[in-house]
Symmetry: C2
Subunit: 463 residues, 2 copies
Amino acid sequence: MEQQNILIIGAGLCGSLLALRLGQRGYNVTVYEMRPDLRKTDISAGRSINLAFSDRGNKAIKLVGIEDKVKELCIPMNGRMLHDKEGNTFLSNYSGREYEYINSISRGGLNALLLDEAEKHENVAIHFNKKCLSVDFEKTTALFQDYHTKEEFVEDADCIIATDGAGSALRQSYFLEKKFLFSFSQQWLTHGYKELSILPNDDGSYKTYKNALHIWPRGDFMVIALPNLDGSFTVTLFLSYDEGDYNFNNLTTSEIVTEFFEKEFPDALTLMPNLVEDFFENPTAPLGTVKCSPWHYKGNTLLMGDSAHAIVPFYGQGMNASFEDVVVFDEVLGQHEGDWGKVFSEYNKIRKKDTDAIADLAIDNFHEMKDHVANPIFQEKRKIEMALEKEFPEDYSSKYSLVTFNEHIGYREAMIRGRAQDKAILNMLSDGVISTEDDINDILDKVKTETEAILEDDRIAGL
Amino acid sequence: MEQQNILIIGAGLCGSLLALRLGQRGYNVTVYEMRPDLRKTDISAGRSINLAFSDRGNKAIKLVGIEDKVKELCIPMNGRMLHDKEGNTFLSNYSGREYEYINSISRGGLNALLLDEAEKHENVAIHFNKKCLSVDFEKTTALFQDYHTKEEFVEDADCIIATDGAGSALRQSYFLEKKFLFSFSQQWLTHGYKELSILPNDDGSYKTYKNALHIWPRGDFMVIALPNLDGSFTVTLFLSYDEGDYNFNNLTTSEIVTEFFEKEFPDALTLMPNLVEDFFENPTAPLGTVKCSPWHYKGNTLLMGDSAHAIVPFYGQGMNASFEDVVVFDEVLGQHEGDWGKVFSEYNKIRKKDTDAIADLAIDNFHEMKDHVANPIFQEKRKIEMALEKEFPEDYSSKYSLVTFNEHIGYREAMIRGRAQDKAILNMLSDGVISTEDDINDILDKVKTETEAILEDDRIAGL
């Protein structure tokens, strides 16, 4: 077979990983990225600085053989450290199994590593400062503009894969051209987010507990913080644009921002003398979910990563889902290599149900994080699930564990089983059928039986 | 209060009803419609010729006081007439209450009546052949183009209400301008549709039973037929574009179309000597659902009817939902007259959950109509529900009745209760807890108890 030319639009996390993998497979890969090379310029502004990295993402990292290098960039987070209004903290582990945890990782550091690894392959070339304006998916060509010279040029390939994020140029071409029936949705939350920071102590040490994802849940809004390798934490405020006593539209002065944090997050405020400065320097950004279908046009073009399925950040699965895309794609490519039409349609068919599921799960978790984690019945459920996971590590996984640590099953299966389990436990707690004092073997039996009954009832009802 | 100028874009069913109602309320109403005046030209091509008209739609017709005139256009349909492959028929009533039925009505006839009624008001002016190109929602102006002269002109108003259907120009302006966070989704079914016809007998009589909605359910596809006043039926084939042995992409010759109908719809074929001609003359059209949010921009502009919520036709609620929009809007207008910002935001808030629900219900019914109506357990459920409605007319309504005949509750409430009832009955039938032979009082008690339990379980689980 003649060596195929693949054009990748976007050298972010998904695009650079895909370039690396296709480079390893021997394809001629050309990548165009609209931003400057992040290894040479600081371009963090407006994008999340650190991310949650977990087992599904690591599956892809193992595939390309750089697990050890990635590990050096990771800070393990064993659980959620909840902060109440009085400054009391409570650590809630992510799993009852000690070896299951997630990681905080620097977006820039990981992206740089993937670019370096991809460029080690002679057959991979990455060009920066070239913005994709549109894609002609009938002709398999893409129109780019050079950031510096403003010159426009057309590139042609055997196939084009767009990993150009939530604002994808290829997806826009699919939508605007109206040449086929393209289902599309963009859904915005009522809340936006703003990044803030907890700086390190003067000696470079962490100002609060390092190995956790910190959460200040307040019902209608919340603050979270993830550790960075330099001793700082990246802090994010999630808040409504226009509802409630305090919102992004009315937090317009230093006084009112300080008052808000004094009242709601006093312990966080003491860690952030730089709060007001950060608040007014950093942008407020919206939180959106994008779904679409189909992802491909014949064997010519394909959407992958956020361009196909942008999700809200509350399950810590955005990057992991995009990395898992590359694993699934690689498997399908192995089965149908040589027939791009078949590869793209099979990949779309297998993968879409799972990315739809993680999009919905991420919105569920928005409500869970800001609200449920501080709700008594949800806390009892969590306590029971931790005990089940600890006592029966082979036999029980919570919804969170199914989604995060069970990378051998898809997101959709994790969602269906996880939601049924949640429903079973919450209802049995509410009805007094189980309690946190019961024998744990007894609880496991009841949860399993009730979960199966719920799944069966839904199946009969055609749900 | 000074007399306000309202600009309505689109003089279809929703726009002409709204113009009539606002005319009755004394507003200066100007309507621009892109098509020619349907009272003077035949413009039926490509649009559904007849529609299902039921209680929610009639609520609006009563509001504007033309119930008697509309009644003359109606053909009652008491139930579904199911046709199997052998040509056997089975009538399944829509309700166990004899006074509950839906109607077949001519789109053109009803639209013409509404235009006539609206134009009786001196303060209402309707202009045809003026296409809206875009709306400047900051300035409350709309750009139009005259179909004949191609001249463009701008119209200005105190507020603009777009009732310009699924392809709305105002909605497109909201989407493309990106001036606020606009959530939007368009979802296409895998199936398209094509209109066919059963012509009257030579003496003008109906070739098959007049007072039913005929269905030929075949699992993956179906044909339906609704009666017209002239003795004909409008027939619609719903079929996949590209899946199954027969689909729109491969039905390309007279022979294969005839073969398909001989095999799957032999009794329908005998009623349609004109099948092949209709098939190749009439377009194949897609089936889409549109949802969006917000519907309004400040007090300047508002989407209403299909422009805000286009739905698939399987619940027979498209027109009824748009008419109900006008009733809800009229109520809100009564409460907050003089403050368009308040009227639009309140209307949006109250109404959206219900139009989201009917959109989802309509997709459920696609599967029910083509598949479930021929499925034994669904038939048993239907039998039980007919008996319950007949025996307890005040105490029980099926999901279909809640949606169609209970216009005092919203679609969302109908959906939640109706789905829970369906789940209760299907599961109890499957588990042998109830059977069609049981005492009807007993069945009612069990269905009510189980429905409440399902609703309570969902509530506890936060669903």
